[in-house]
Symmetry: C2
Subunit: 436 residues, 2 copies
């Protein structure tokens, strides 16, 4: 019944790596913020630096026991990050922006996915039937936008509440939802196709049935939970029970998604958040979750990505390097083109359409989490990670520079008083103001 | 270099048990608070209830993989709880109370330890040289007081700031420090004695040298860190970096204690907290740590204790049951007598001395954590856990009732306006006010 020796983790051996990760990633994040890069970059660099230690043969710190602990914390971290991403989704904003956001999102998802799919064809196996899902998954990774850098830049320029500013934010929200749905379908299709059964058509039907089943389950139960949380918020606003129940729901949805419906646990976590978003205490729940995350889980997740990226380097051959560069290009060009065309099609100026494409091309944690899912499901190669890191680094550097240049010679539409607050936001906690 | 299959934990399988633990322990804690019991009791009951599920043969939820995850989270939780206990220590208070607190503490530690040691002699092996450390450890478990219930009761009665009220609070703080030091010595003595060496005297000398070494290390490094944190607090008050660095230090001290000095990791965590206590942002660091704890780690730790208590039931024979009851009696009588005599010796009235004994006899998490340490080090039997649960339950019930009765027919010294706040304190978060 209880713990077998083979599976136990010696907790104290994990403590030294954890301490190193926490201190180094905080220092490097602070450094990155000072030079205008997102903190995610600092956390990833931590993993890469610590990865250099692991290259020493038989080094004792990052032993297999420690890595088991780090991986476990990282997995819980992924659930918390996706729950947080779901709960901060502001569905009202999308209603306000309407059709433009929808068109930008659809093109911004389809074009990079298609380009990713196409470039993955140069890998061994090409477009053979065995490789379709793999190629598709490389496309899926490219769908998730992260607009935190764009939002910061637009805020600084005083353009966040401009027509194209709100369109970008709305599209980025829809983008996450669409991306997560596509990911779920691909993950469960993979399970159907790799099963031993000969009735592929029936299997695929079952997959779609189960995926649909999950959404019925998540939305049905989610509506009941929204009502419950509304009552709880009224009576017990800012009580500890709210974030605790919230996280329990995230865990339960994740488990149900993976175990009962055969789709990714991160989809469950994201939808748990989505169903609770917009509620009276949604902000409060998100802030509490974020505190637990930033204190341990998020830095460990990013450090783990950095660590494992380095270890996958020796598996990379020249074809994969070529693919990797094309993959990065597909990621940048796909979003830039897809979103710009979407913006132009919904009656924006050429200049604003270009800005929309620029603003949407940033990637961060969701992109990594999707890749992580594909790697652990055995769909794609772990060697893709360093290239995703490059994509994140490049877009984080380039987007603010080009966005600012595109607004040169224009009078700011609104003078922002938020610059100082914004700079400090990811670090200072005022407790009253929602964290970024 | 990386993760071996035998040690990895399937994270998604841990999510359902975690969700169950979080929801049930929050509900039961709320229930316990309503009838005036500490929340710890609710969390322990959760583990016992869920433990009933695990009695079903081959039940799928609490499988060995899930238990490995739960144990790991519980271990990290223990570090966070002990760090929190250390950082909330108010050394200034002790200075103010002076000699009375010291005498009460010493007698309140020595008497229950002695009684625990003596009653453990009825176990197989008696007072044979093999069993001395085991018997001593059963005594050590009984040293740790938890005054939260007492503080709540005294506050309600308006007696917290009375002479005996402050003496109780101070003695409880010193009590933790002394208890942790004794625990460290016993744990490391055990390592020396179980090693294959024939030079027992030298081994014991090494143990004391190492234990002393740890305190020199912890206090030396701790003073440097205090200075660093003072500077950081001045420049970056309420910045995220403070709790992150704080927790990293707790992890590092824990690792160092266990790996380099051969003493318990919880000693390291406690001293990390102690060295940062009283600083400008100590409250802030403690609150952030507590948020991470209550959202996941603490409920999981207590549930784990409940779960494993139930599974140890079938290993209990009649001798152990007799010992268990004597152990509970030793725990109650030892504190009551030791502290009452200590209070009387420092010129308190008989009535106040009796109240001091009553107030000091409550036990909670530190008691469990110490026992946990002895169990995992193989010094004592896991079967002691249900009896410790009984000790916690009995003292939590009895202390408030008897304390209130002892104050009957007395005019309250001060009218307390804190009753409502206090009731709500463990749940509502005002964010400005420190949490209880």
């Amino acid at each position: 019944m209880f713990l077998e020796a083979s599976q136990s983790i010696e907790a104290f051996q994990v403590l030294l790596p954890l301490a190193l990760i926490l201190v180094l990633s905080k220092l490097l994040s602070i450094g990155c913020r000072k030079i205008g890069l997102p903190q995610v970059v600092g956390m990833l660099l931590t993993g890469i630096l610590l990865g250099l230690i692991t290259l020493i043969p038989n080094e004792p710190i990052f032993n297999s026991n420690a890595m088991a602990g780090i991986n476990f914390i990282a997995e819980i971290g992924v659930i918390l990050i996706m729950f947080s991403a779901g709960i901060e989704t502001d569905l009202k904003q999308i209603k306000a922006t309407g059709i433009a956001a929808i068109v930008i999102t659809i093109l911004g998802v389809v074009v990079p996915m298609l380009l990713g799919f196409l470039v993955a064809g140069i890998l061994p196996g090409g477009f053979g039937s065995d490789c379709i899902l793999r190629n598709l998954f490389y496309g899926v990774i490219l769908t998730a936008t992260s607009v935190s850098v764009t939002v910061a830049t637009l805020k600084e320029l005083g353009k966040l509440n401009s027509k194209i500013g709100t369109a970008i934010v709305s599209a980025a929200i829809l983008d996450d939802i669409l991306g997560v749905i596509v990911l779920s379908i691909v993950v469960s299709l993979n399970q159907a196709l790799t099963s031993a059964s000969n009735h592929v058509a029936i299997d695929i039907l079952i997959v779609f049935g189960k995926t649909l089943g999950f959404f019925v389950f998540a939305i049905g139960l989610g509506i009941l939970l929204r009502i419950l949380f509304k009552k709880l918020s009224k009576k017990y606003g800012h009580h500890r029970r709210l974030p605790i129940f919230g996280i329990a729901i995230a865990f339960f949805f994740s488990y149900a998604a993976e175990e009962w419906f055969g789709i990714a646990d991160i989809t469950g976590a994201f939808f748990a958040g989505l169903m609770l978003s917009g509620g009276k205490d949604a902000d409060y729940i998100e802030r509490r979750t974020d505190i637990a995350s930033y204190i341990l889980f998020t830095p460990v997740f990013f450090a783990k990505v950095g660590l494992t990226s380095l270890s996958s380097f020796n598996e990379i051959d020249s074809t994969f390097i070529l693919f990797g560069f094309l993959f990065i290009l597909a990621g940048i060009a796909g979003k830039l083109l897809g979103c710009a065309v979407g913006a132009k099609a919904t009656k924006n100026t050429w200049k604003d359409s270009y800005r929309c494409g620029l603003g949407m091309m940033c990637r961060a944690e969701v992109c990594l989490i999707c890749a992580n899912k594909g790697i652990s499901a055995g769909i794609i190669s772990a060697s893709i990670q360093p290239f995703i890191l490059c994509l994140i680094l490049i877009t984080s550097f380039v987007t603010p520079v080009l966005l600012k240049r595109s607004y040169k010679n224009e009078v700011p539409q609104e003078i922002s008083h938020d610059i100082v607050t914004l700079e400090a936001a990811p670090e200072i906690e005022n407790n009253e103001a929602p964290l970024s």
